[in-house]
């Protein structure tokens, strides 16, 4: 009897710890990009509730232990535009040479984000654990030793012509894998939700200038 009580208590504690931390979504660097253009499919954040429910139907049915995964998009190619790293306006009537100091942040090689109760559970661990298990099922290498982000200041002289605005930003290639996953323990569903792996291929810099015009209302 004591053993049964002990087992019940253990399950209750497990359930409480798993379901009490399920309110926030894990955010990653790529979610702050100004634009991500996938060659097909869409990002996790753009799925509707109905679409999520439909995907979750794909992983119905319990298993003894481990992760059940349904991939909606698998290694889909995408390009992205980062937020502006540097921006300067020359509203004068003559060209001006600026000392541009661009702070470039190199991000994690593989980013992960999740939604639903899955989010709270994967946020607790490091990059291995549940994230690693989902990654393994999707053939995405998401181990503990992914690149950490770092900032590097770069200086360059740049001529900005009269009535022009210069911006420096990053573009690049991404591989996106997303879908839904559920984690089971002793046939009990501990958590479920959407997941997304974003693998950064390269970050390319680009300089662009545009003429400031009265019509655009920038003055």
């Amino acid at each position: 009897m004591k053993k049964i009580l002990f087992l019940m208590l253990t399950f209750t504690i497990l359930l409480i710890t798993h379901y009490s931390i399920n309110v926030y979504a894990a955010t990653e660097e790529y979610t702050t990009y100004s634009e991500i253009m996938m060659s097909e499919g869409k990002l996790l954040m753009n799925f509707t509730d109905e679409e999520m429910d439909k995907m979750l139907e794909e992983i119905e049915g319990t298993i003894f232990s481990g992760v059940k995964v349904y991939e909606e998009n698998s290694n889909v190619k995408a390009t992205y535009i980062s937020n502006t790293l540097y921006s300067v306006e020359n509203k004068g009537s003559t060209d001006v040479t600026y000392d541009v100091v661009v702070s470039v942040e190199t991000t994690n090689k593989v980013s992960f984000s999740a939604s639903g109760s899955l989010s709270g559970n994967v946020s607790k661990g490091k990059s291995g654990g549940l994230k690693g298990d989902i990654g393994a099922k999707c053939s995405v290498d998401y181990s503990n030793d992914t690149t950490t982000s770092r900032k590097e200041k770069q200086t360059m002289k740049l001529v900005v012509e009269a009535n022009s605005r210069a911006i420096v930003y990053l573009t690049g290639e991404l591989l996106i894998t997303n879908g839904v996953a559920a984690n089971y323990f002793f046939w009990i569903k501990m958590c479920e939700g959407g997941f997304e792996f974003v693998t950064l291929q390269n970050q390319y810099s680009r300089i662009e200038k545009v003429k400031i015009s009265w019509e655009n209302g920038w003055y």
Partner: protein, 285 residues
């Protein structure tokens, strides 16, 4: 019989110990690599950056108080006095970014085909192939204005190399004589495409079938019918990785430059460029 058994077990046990000790010694061996690059900086830059990859953390090369850092530029030796080293943990390896501050105090133009980094300490000397290096004194050059500028890379023999730049000049000119990134590349004027821009990653051979990455170019002047161009480049010394650099132009017989620009902003992944890795050499004292 018992003695034989003891002997056989003893030999097996000692062999096992030997294997364990050898494997432990091997696992403690540090392997250091570089990806040789075409590096170029203008004298506007406060520092030059060199990268060394290692299979181990806390490499002895990172402790500036214990090491002497020398650059051998062809036959010239430069001692790096003001060195700062950053260690970054990456995908199963460690990247050491060596920043040499105030490198070119005399503001001279330096050009070195073969750049070697020596790291010397009490125990021995490491020698690394850095690639090619050039420092440009911008005196006599005018900054060029660009409305759009970025590079295009293409896979050549399985590795991603810079094959050209996409440029939209702010002003109109008549004739392009030459464009260079650093000192060991050159524009291929005959293959310049006007009013054309390519994405950051392209297939150069399908776009320009006659493109050749390694060639000595005798460029002929090309009329600039448009200020929007894709300018393919060739490597005049060796096909090295090109991540950042300054760009010089000779347009209408006048010298212009675009300051040191990071074509690729992220650090190069050692796992992605395995065939380009050069192992550092070590000689103990």
């Amino acid at each position: 019989m018992r003695k034989w058994l003891i002997l056989v077990y003893s030999i097996a046990f000692l062999s096992l110990c030997g294997i364990i000790i050898l494997s432990l010694l091997r696992s403690s061996d540090e392997l250091l690599y570089t990806i040789p690059q075409i590096k170029s900086f203008t004298n506007n830059n406060e520092k030059i950056k060199l990268e060394i990859y290692s299979n181990k953390p806390k490499s002895s090369i990172k402790y500036v108080e214990n090491n002497l850092y020398n650059l051998i530029l062809d036959d010239q030796e430069v001692i790096l006095n003001d060195v700062d080293i950053e260690e970054i943990e990456c995908n199963g390896y460690y990247l050491y970014i060596i920043k040499a501050l105030n490198f070119n105090k005399d503001n001279e133009t330096l050009i070195s085909k073969k750049c070697i980094l020596e790291i010397i300490n009490q125990k021995g000397k490491y020698t690394f192939n850095i690639g090619s290096l050039s420092i440009l004194s911008t005196e006599g050059y005018e900054l060029i204005g660009v409305d759009d500028f970025y590079a295009s890379y293409s896979y050549i023999d399985g590795n991603l190399f810079l094959v050209g730049v996409n440029i939209e000049l702010s002003n109109s000119f008549k004739t392009l004589n030459e464009m260079k990134i650093g000192s060991f590349t050159s524009s291929i004027n005959s293959l310049i495409q006007h009013n054309k821009k390519y994405p950051n990653e392209m297939n150069i051979i399908s776009s320009i079938p006659s493109y050749n990455a390694i060639s000595r170019i005798n460029n002929e002047n090309v009329a600039m019918s448009s200020n929007i161009m894709f300018i393919p480049i060739s490597y005049t010394y060796k096909l090295y990785m090109l991540k950042e650099g300054y760009i010089t132009f000779k347009i209408d017989d006048k010298a212009y430059y675009l300051d040191t620009f990071s074509f690729i902003a992220n650090e190069l992944d050692m796992n992605q460029y395995k065939t380009l890795l050069k192992e550092g050499e070590y000689a103990s004292n």
